[in-house]
């Protein structure tokens, strides 16, 4: 009797969460999936190996408002003609689109560091990938918690 109840409840919960997921997909705009993120990264790096390190991704771990999140990406590099950062590509996991921005540097940059303000639709992971002049790719990722504003106004 006990076992039967247990099985029925698990089935019910499985069914309910499936229905809920279906509801969520139709109610919300398209979300980037991990697969889209992987594809977007592959578009930049091709088949090359992406190593972790050298890139520092600075985003507040808990943001005040997902509409405007300050972000700084810096890469340890001498930025000489022979050894410099060519570009920095920033991606996200759960916005409708996986790309955030691409930034192109060079030996004239002096320092491989950019700042901007980004939008984050939900709590998610951000990835920054740097391409160096020797063709190598380096990355860093951070998890950001996004809360929503308490009292949202009607559309004016």
């Amino acid at each position: 009797m006990h076992e039967h109840d247990h099985a029925t409840r698990r089935q019910f919960l499985g069914f309910a969460s499936g229905v809920a997921m279906l509801g969520a997909v139709t109610l919300r705009p398209a979300e980037a999936t991990p697969a889209m993120l992987a594809t977007a990264i592959r578009n930049v790096v091709g088949g090359a190996v992406v190593r972790t390190g050298r890139v520092k991704l600075d985003v507040p771990p808990l943001v005040e408002n997902g509409n405007t999140v300050p972000m700084t990406v810096s890469v340890a590099s001498p930025m000489t003609a022979d050894d410099h950062v060519k570009s920095i590509h920033v991606f996200n996991e759960k916005n409708p689109q996986p790309n955030i921005g691409n930034f192109y540097l060079g030996p004239r940059s002096g320092r491989a560091q950019i700042s901007t303000r980004i939008r984050l639709a939900d709590t998610q992971k951000i990835v920054a990938i740097a391409q160096l002049s020797d063709g190598s790719f380096w990355s860093a990722g951070v998890d950001v918690v996004v809360t929503l504003a308490a009292c949202t106004e009607e559309v004016l």
Partner: protein, 258 residues
């Protein structure tokens, strides 16, 4: 010292027994102090503060000719840095002709129609926001003086009554959050004391600059009450009360807030 404090406390309690406790002077804090350091630095640096974009636009409007008069604000008021200094710090102010208080946006529109023979700018239009922010920014750093005029006393009382009255489906008064529960959190956001020290301000939530009336309408909608229209006397009275409640605090326009 303790005896005097007790007497003062007793008087305060007696005076405000019927209403929520107003924030003691010594405990007043600007909304700035409730923000993270990232958002604070956004406000502090003029070239990083998005509100300054509206100040730039406002300066251009100040110097541009308008209306049938062909006059610019600058033609009568000269350099705003001098002539507008201190103005925002004492608004809303009493308008003799109308016999009631007007806010800075309304004053600018009155000037436009009466002295420039130009059509008034729409509430919350980019132009009106830009001009208002430009004028208010000239008072940045100055202490708020709003409400000293005795003719405003009646309207300040009305504004206070609006601040204290419960409204909407949530049956909440402004005071319930902003007098009684500031520094606690509402769904992850800090509840501030609601001092309008930096309006018009850039709100991250709006991703734009907006007026105090826009914020008030948003709050009133937030408690599921019907918001007053822009320019309604109730909103001006609320603005007047809030500014007089913030007397002594420095103007921060253009502020940045979450």
């Amino acid at each position: 010292m303790r005896a005097r404090a007790t007497i003062v406390a007793a008087l305060l309690v007696a005076a405000f027994a019927a209403r929520a406790a107003e924030i003691p002077q010594a405990e007043r804090r600007s909304g700035f102090s409730f923000m993270t350091s990232d958002t604070q630095s956004m406000q502090n640096e003029d070239t990083a503060n998005p509100g300054m974009l509206w100040v730039l636009d406002g300066e251009a409007l100040w110097n541009g000719k308008a209306g049938a008069s062909g006059k610019a604000c600058a033609d009568c008021h000269g350099d705003a840095r001098a002539s507008m200094k201190g103005v925002a710090a004492r608004y809303p102010a009493f308008d003799q002709a109308l016999g009631r208080p007007v806010n800075l946006e309304q004053r600018i529109d009155l000037c436009r129609s009466q002295h420039q023979q130009a059509t008034p700018l729409a509430y919350e239009s980019r132009e009106l926001l830009a001009l208002t922010t430009f004028v208010a920014q000239q008072s940045r750093g100055l202490a708020i003086e709003t409400g000293a005029d005795p003719q405003l006393a009646l309207f300040i009382d009305r504004g206070r009554a609006l601040f204290m009255q419960r409204q909407g489906q949530f049956n909440l008064a402004c005071a319930n959050c902003h007098d009684d529960n500031w520094d606690k959190r509402l769904a992850g956001s800090a509840i501030t004391q609601a001092h309008p020290t930096g309006y018009p301000e850039y709100r991250l939530e709006w991703q734009s600059l907006g007026s105090l009336q826009r914020r008030l309408r948003g709050c009133i909608t937030g408690v599921r009450a019907q918001a007053y229209d822009y320019g309604a006397p109730e909103l001006v009275e609320l603005e007047l009360y809030l500014m007089s409640r913030a007397r002594g605090m420095p103007i921060e326009t253009p502020a940045v807030r979450p």
